[in-house]
């Protein structure tokens, strides 16, 4: 049994540069977020709270940045790319730039190799998993995440965050994290698994849009598209292809450099699975 493992596994060496381990992937769940459509309305963030049992920490702890939002909307005032185009005005005439930030589900995730107990690892469907009940809370993963997308349960929030009967809203499909555990966006793995099980139960392939992540489902401007990057027929893979963004590249070589697709901190070679499409502004 396990000797088999030894022999088999020893025979495997790293294939190419980080390809997310030796897994034979079933899926590679990915996203495409159109910043031209995103209005930064926070609906996705709240939907995430509702779906994933996120704790509400309250103002005192929020003040210390002990926060819990897997999906956060970053707001910036400047436009580095258009700096010349915008005349410096004493008014914010170019509006704000909104960036929905959720776990990038990197294929070469920097958080994975550093976890001492292997509580975070890569699943066969290309997700960057966090196993709560294995986590010992060394917080190394978060410290090694350039996107700062991992959040730590500084306290036990169960009583403080869900006083009865608020706890009745908690989603039984996934665990409520206790104190001392790291957590992060899971691409709504409970929905993924529910859909996959359903498909499996009636022996068919899992179709595109058969399920949606909570953020995608609620996004009023449909800025978020989620799907399987391994299946070229899904809308998300079409988007990636259309914007000439590919996995496994530290730098995209595009025939048409004007195409808007890009990945945040691509050059760090973490190979994130979320593609953003540049914000557009009339100048």
């Amino acid at each position: 049994m396990s000797f088999k493992n030894i022999l088999e596994d020893w025979a495997r060496y790293r294939r190419t540069r980080e390809d997310g381990g030796f897994h034979v992937y079933e899926h590679k769940w990915g996203m495409a977020i159109d910043l031209n459509k995103c209005i930064g309305c926070n609906a996705c963030s709240v939907a995430c709270y509702a779906e994933n049992n996120l704790a509400v920490v309250g103002p005192e702890r929020f003040a210390k940045n002990q926060v819990m939002h897997w999906m956060r909307i970053e707001r910036y005032w400047d436009e580095p790319q258009l700096a010349q185009a915008v005349p410096a005005s004493q008014y914010q005439e170019n509006g704000g730039s909104f960036l929905p930030m959720l776990c990038q589900q990197c294929m070469a995730a920097t958080c994975e190799p550093v976890c001492p107990v292997a509580a975070t690892y890569h699943t066969p469907d290309g997700l960057n998993a966090q196993v709560y009940n294995r986590c010992v809370g060394s917080r190394y993963c978060s410290n090694n995440c350039p996107y700062r997308l991992r959040y730590f349960n500084w306290f036990s929030y169960y009583e403080s965050s869900w006083p009865a009967p608020l706890h009745m809203q908690l989603n039984p499909d996934l665990t409520v994290r206790d104190k001392g555990v790291m957590e992060k966006c899971t691409f709504c793995v409970q929905r993924i698994r529910r859909a996959k099980d359903k498909a499996k139960m009636d022996n068919r392939k899992l179709g595109d849009f058969e399920f949606q992540t909570a953020c995608q489902q609620t996004c009023p401007t449909t800025a978020i598209v989620f799907g399987d990057l391994m299946d070229p027929e899904t809308q998300v893979s079409k988007l990636w292809a259309a914007h000439q963004v590919e996995l496994g590249k530290a730098e995209q070589d595009k025939e048409n450099p004007d195409l808007r697709g890009y990945r945040v901190f691509e050059a760090l070679n973490t190979d994130p699975k979320i593609m953003y499409m540049e914000r557009v502004r009339e100048v």
Binding site: K64, V114, C115, P116, V117, N144, F152, G180, V181, F265
Partner: protein
Amino acid sequence: MQTKDINEQIKWAQINNDVLRSLENPRMAYWVAVGICVAMIACAVIGVGYVYTTGQGTLDLYWPDMWGTWIGTFIFWIGMSHSGTLLSAILHIVHADWRKPIYRFAEAMTTFSLMTAGLFPIIHLGRMWNLYWVIPYASDRGIWPNFRSPLVWDAFAIFTYLTSSALFLYIGMVPDLAICRDNARGWRKKLYTVLSLGWAGTDRQWRNFRKTYLLMACFLIPLAVSVHSIVSSDFAMSIMPGWHVTTFPPYFVAGALYSGCAAIITLFIILRYFFRFEEYMTIPILEKTCKLTFVIAMAWTYLNAIEFATVWYGPDQVDKELLINKFTGPYSPYFWAMLFFGSVMPFTLAFEKLRRHIPTMFVVSLFLNVGMWLERWMIVSPTLSLSYEPFAWKVVWPSIVQWAVVFGSFGWFGLLFLVFVKVFPSVSMYEVKEMVYHRRRAVVDDNAKALHRRSSDPQPAAEMPGA
């Protein structure tokens, strides 16, 4: 002005007496010191208990700086532990005789600071009761620790280092324990009889002892280097700006030796003062230690400069930003303080007058260690709170609980050391005897040459050992 490392006229009996006396009837000052240490430990214990019950949040750790001062202090203590290795192992191999009177307590420091350091990674865990998951044990779940994680390397390295250095300390002590055994009474007699492993000073024992000691020393040197390199890889292996630095291993090792030597000077002075070890911990030896410290300090400064330079001329914008941030940002006061204590302070060691002025040295050595602690903190926190993601930039001052535990760790170290100096000889008697013996031989030979006599001829009675 004293120039000799040690006075060769000193009687061996006196050596025994002086050292053994240091083990006897502690004075008031000792008990006061113990009391203070215990109080400090109490602070830490209360703090940790509070964290354990409420959660790590009470440390005012936050997103994104999730490590704070505890990990910094962890590195600090690890670094402290390199002193013993340096003095006993390296200097032993290069036959630097002057180490002999002072290496014993240095090694003790090594062991105890390791015992202190080891605590921090444990208590900083969010769920410390699951610590054992880091140990590679066979479970029916088929789950192992992730051997890729530098934290696991830490666990291995620290365990190895603790074991080895403790054994090194102990083995080096055996002949002295025999001496204690022969002079002790009551429970001490029993204790030393057991500990001295039946040492009788036969040539066979001495022979194997020499070999063993040498081999252990040989193991300890690369081990010490590897340990701090591994600790540095906690950071160097990551991709965060300010951590992802190739010079980190040597930088850490240098820093470690640095703080170690500084700590040696401190304890040197304390022991010399309280145990009246003027005969053995002599000014020239202090001077030598200071010179060594100075050299290391300069090495450390150089490595610092290298790091700045590589960042400054390197391609990584974010890294550069962070560096600028360290110099000008919210952490700048501490950063400048670190540079001052670490690179400017040591120049006091370059002046003979100051080197020989004990109070100055005491103060300086303390400041050097403050600088070293700041260095460690400046490695951990700025990177975490000001890194790639601007939206996450945030600086929160560590809470009182954090400080209490850091503070208490010194008490823990102090207590261990205090116990040590009263139970074990903090000066190696047999090595000092050797030192004296060889010097005496040297002197005798000189006289012999002068007087055209064989050195094996009977010497004037005055020079008879033990006469």
